[in-house]
């Protein structure tokens, strides 16, 4: 049975204001505007790069659990304004972003935690795929990704950071990362094709991680610790 301490993810796609990507990443990554006891990992902050994506666009990925995330949301949407500067931060940040769309995501089988990822080399260069699937195919896709895609791309120097399924739709999101962009063509050649029966409709983005991302820090920061500037 699922527990309120189970790991899950907030994935956020952010409509960044023109010319504000770098400012957005720093402003978002250096702030926590809720009760410090609720703090969970800001896994990573990413900006899309022009050759492939939606620039200017950002992505935030938070790794938490049901208990703390629901606590944060209760502060945000409860009867009393949070006493930790959230509303001031929100207003101040409107110069950086205009809106976005988010999803609550569960990790696919074998998808590593931030602590597991932090044992390897930092990988700031990320290929993200948003995969819309036939109803009922999401879990098969995620299982296939862990069993087939993961080893195939690792053989050419890339490493999957995440494979996740949206809780309320037939949507999967995957992140594959490398220390640099030198093996883009190798990745393309190595990636297995999904089962056509899943009707995978894929959007692919090239993203660069903000240097202060938690998942890039060695040793890994605890939630609440400030990243390196």
């Amino acid at each position: 049975m699922a527990s309120e301490n189970d790991r899950f993810y907030l994935w956020e796609d952010i409509y960044i204001a023109p010319g504000r990507v770098t400012h957005y990443l720093g402003n978002m990554g250096n702030d926590w505007s809720f009760d410090p006891k609720l703090r969970y990992h800001l896994f990573g902050l990413f900006g899309h790069l022009r050759p492939m994506g939606h620039a200017p666009r950002g992505m935030n990925l938070w790794e938490g659990d049901w208990k703390r995330v629901t606590g944060m949301l209760t502060e945000q949407f409860g009867p009393k304004a949070p006493g930790h500067g959230f509303e001031a931060w929100w207003m101040r940040s409107n110069v950086d972003r205009a809106g976005g769309w988010d999803r609550l995501m569960l990790p696919g089988p074998g998808s590593p935690s931030i602590a597991e990822i932090a044992k390897g080399a930092p990988r700031p260069c990320v290929i993200q795929q948003i995969v819309r699937l036939r109803q009922g195919a999401r879990d098969d896709y995620l299982e296939w990704f862990g069993k087939k895609v993961r080893p195939a791309v690792e053989r050419v120097g890339w490493k999957p950071l995440k494979w996740m399924g949206a809780i309320h739709s037939s949507l999967a999101i995957t992140l594959i990362a490398a220390p640099d962009w030198s093996r883009m063509a190798d990745l393309a050649a190595a990636m297995p094709a999904p089962d056509p029966a899943w009707e995978a409709d894929v959007e692919t983005h090239a993203m660069q991680a903000w240097a202060g991302c938690s998942y890039l820090q060695r040793p890994l920061l605890e939630p609440g610790q400030s990243p390196k500037r």
């Binding site: 010319g19 022009r50 994506g53 939606h54 620039a55 990745l187 094709a193 692919t204």
Partner: protein
């Protein structure tokens, strides 16, 4: 005026580091912001930042978004793409007042830009497999997405909008063709003057 530049012909080799890679852009402007002429100018200006522009098109609002422009940039090989990615966010693009932008990377399966062609039916297509996409017959140019090669871009060209109409009347486009699971297409053209 926009130009059409041909490739060196190293297409159709997804995953080979020597193959050309194309970046397909959509830019959504605004009548109260960057219009089609301004979008074309911003696209052309990327040449100063090291981008190799193959074609610069205005979308036809009667069959697509407006004011909206498309561009196709070419990377000679994977190393050229890597060089651009390493530039990061400061790539020189003027993003002011754009409503949205969308970019895809693809390799060419077949065809070449005909420099006589100034108007194009532009399509995003999805097939069940990369082999099905590669077997698609009819488009003048066919591209496969770099990381989802069962999806692609099909282009059908003509010397003018009138010529494109005549091709349409004879029957072009991927809708309903064997193996096509999804298709979205719209008309584009190289404007003959600076547009509002």
């Amino acid at each position: 005026m926009a130009t059409v530049k041909n490739s060196t012909g190293k297409g159709g080799a997804r995953g080979k580091s020597s193959a050309e890679i194309y970046s397909f852009w959509e830019l959504m402007g605004a009548t109260t912001g960057p219009t089609r002429g301004e979008l074309a100018h911003r696209i052309t200006a990327m040449g100063r930042n090291g981008w190799d522009l193959a074609i610069n098109l205005a979308s036809i609002g009667s069959d697509g978004h407006w004011p909206h422009s498309m561009a196709v940039f070419r990377f000679a090989n994977a190393a050229a793409l890597e060089k651009q990615l390493k530039v990061g966010f400061a790539d020189g693009m003027d993003e002011r007042d754009l409503k949205w932008a969308k970019m895809k990377l693809a390799t060419k399966l077949r065809g070449d830009l005909d420099t006589q062609h100034r108007s194009w039916l532009f399509e995003y297509v999805r097939f069940g497999s990369a082999a099905d996409l590669a077997a698609h017959q009819g488009p003048d140019l066919l591209f496969a997405e770099l990381y989802a090669p069962w999806q692609g871009i099909a282009m059908w060209g003509a010397d003018s909008l009138r010529g494109l109409m005549q091709r349409e009347l004879k029957g072009i486009g991927s809708v309903g063709k064997p193996g096509v699971l999804q298709c979205t297409g719209w008309w584009t053209t190289i404007p003959e003057r600076v547009l509002v």
